[in-house]
């Protein structure tokens, strides 16, 4: 059994420890935020935070995560009370199909936590691992600029 600390709460998980975190979040814990995009660490759809740093949850087995702080999209806010980054994305209507956006929000959250006013270049570099196929990038960048300074 493995204990995972997710959004501040402990969860006991019986699943095979080699299982990547993504599947445990989605199937065992019924959380939808992290998405399966490639399972290869190439697209960032599955991004969650580990001790405030972005990771590809599709690549990381739960066996190595005990004792560490995992934050998922669900930990940032709800539709009724979205977190500041979520709110900025909603305000900018920064989604088309939206499939990539949870991962984008998570990666942006990590950036804005450590940098209150990132430059455009810093945003681009930081967001580089995450793919969007709908071409929502320009809005995503606007949303991140809008959210700058609101994450504590």
């Amino acid at each position: 059994m493995i204990t995972l600390k997710i959004n501040g709460k402990d969860h006991q998980v019986e699943t095979d420890p080699i299982t990547p975190l993504l599947y445990v979040l989605r199937n065992d814990l019924k959380m939808n935020g992290a998405k399966f995009g490639c399972g290869l660490g190439q697209c960032g759809a599955c991004t969650v935070l580990l001790d405030d740093q972005p990771i590809f949850s599709c690549q990381i087995p739960i066996s190595i995560l005990e004792g560490r702080n995992i934050t998922t999209l669900e930990g940032l806010g709800t539709a009724a009370e979205p977190g500041p980054v979520q709110k900025a994305f909603i305000d900018e209507q920064a989604a088309q199909c939206g499939y990539c956006i949870p991962g984008m929000i998570m990666r942006a959250q990590a950036l804005l936590k450590q940098n209150k006013s990132p430059s455009d270049r810093q945003i681009r570099e930081w967001m580089q691992p995450n793919l969007c196929r709908c071409g929502t990038h320009a809005r995503i960048m606007r949303a991140i600029r809008r959210a700058a300074g609101t994450v504590s």
Binding site: I18, T19, P20, G39, G41, Q42, I60, S63
Partner: protein
Amino acid sequence: MLRNLLRALLGVIIVAIVLIVGFWLWARQPSIAAIAPPDASTFDKATIARGANLVAMGDCATCHNSPEGHPFAGGFPVPTPFGIIYGTNITPDPDTGIGRWSEQAFARAMHRGIRRDGAYLYPAFPYTHFTKVSDDDIKAIYAYLMTRPAVHNVVPAPRLPFPLNIRPIMAGWNLLFFRPGRFVPDPAKSEAWNRGAYIAEGLAHCGACHTPRNLLGAEKTSERYAGGEAEGWFAPALGARSSAPVQWSEAALLNYLSAGFARDHGVAAGPMAGVTRDLRKLPASDLTALATYFASLAPPAPARETMGAASTDKASYQIATAQAMGQKGPAKTGEAIFAGACASCHFEGGSQPFHRPIRLRLSSAVTAPTPRNFIQIVLGGIQPPPGDHGRWMPPFANALTDEQVSLLAQYVRGHFSGKPDWSDIGKTVAQVRKGSGS
């Protein structure tokens, strides 16, 4: 007594002054007159195009592009064991670049490491190799650079400690270690071999990374291609001293140099990734020549491991571990970490194009004498530059703790390489982590 002492001291001082002045006079190099930046139309297209390939051959972009990616605008910090040296602006900007350099001044810099104004360049700029480049090639490189757009960009001064910050000191270094002179072909060898040698020893300056350096930063000529260092990565030994389990064949070298990947060795990563991306711009004959040359550095192998033998490995590592390990809780061993974090890609025998990752026991990073590259790759992964094709591995820096990386390194080395354990794993993890962050 005192007087004798004073006299002796005076003598020493005088000698020192004479020596210093003498050294200075001897070391002093003339400035070459500034010219008005030549008009692009004075260079012919064919020469420019040849220059473009030569610039790729020299991988000039790696050090001379600006950190923002402006070609040749300079400012890229090149780490050396002595301090940081910034790639200079080699665009034809008259004030901050080489716009006022005549071809003669440019040739002197390439061949002898002297700036247009007569100052010494640091050997981080590999004039020790470029000295071998033919005048004709220098001319083409000059033509290419002088026809790129000028970028006004002031590059920071090198950050070197005393006395290295005194440039004339380099005259002494040159005296000790620099042997100027064009490449001399070996008539006993084939044309392709000579072409390869010309490229490798000259413009491509392979030894700059792959040959170990002495305390003063000069390549140890007695240990040519015995393995060196580049930007925090280990540059593996080439030729006879290579630790590759499968000897590098000419075909493998050709693949590696042109595609950045060799099935029996691995993916070009770290600084070598950029090198291979530049090299693939060259004509096929040049790449073949390089492959011929490097293949010749090792004696013919008695019995090469074949791919058939390689694939008799465990059919599926992943499936074996998932079932058999019986691990129920957190991963405490390198094997358990591997089973979760690595095995989903690094298992053998997959039938689909996608499941052909490098076999770890053949990987240069796993069989190298140092864990440095393995750790670099685990932490930073391998990604082609944006928009480009290439093999992919995600970074694990944010996921794995230092201890987990160390356990993993120990396990992979032990399980896959059949070579002695790595020492200094923990220290290397910390170093790489400091250098790469991500």
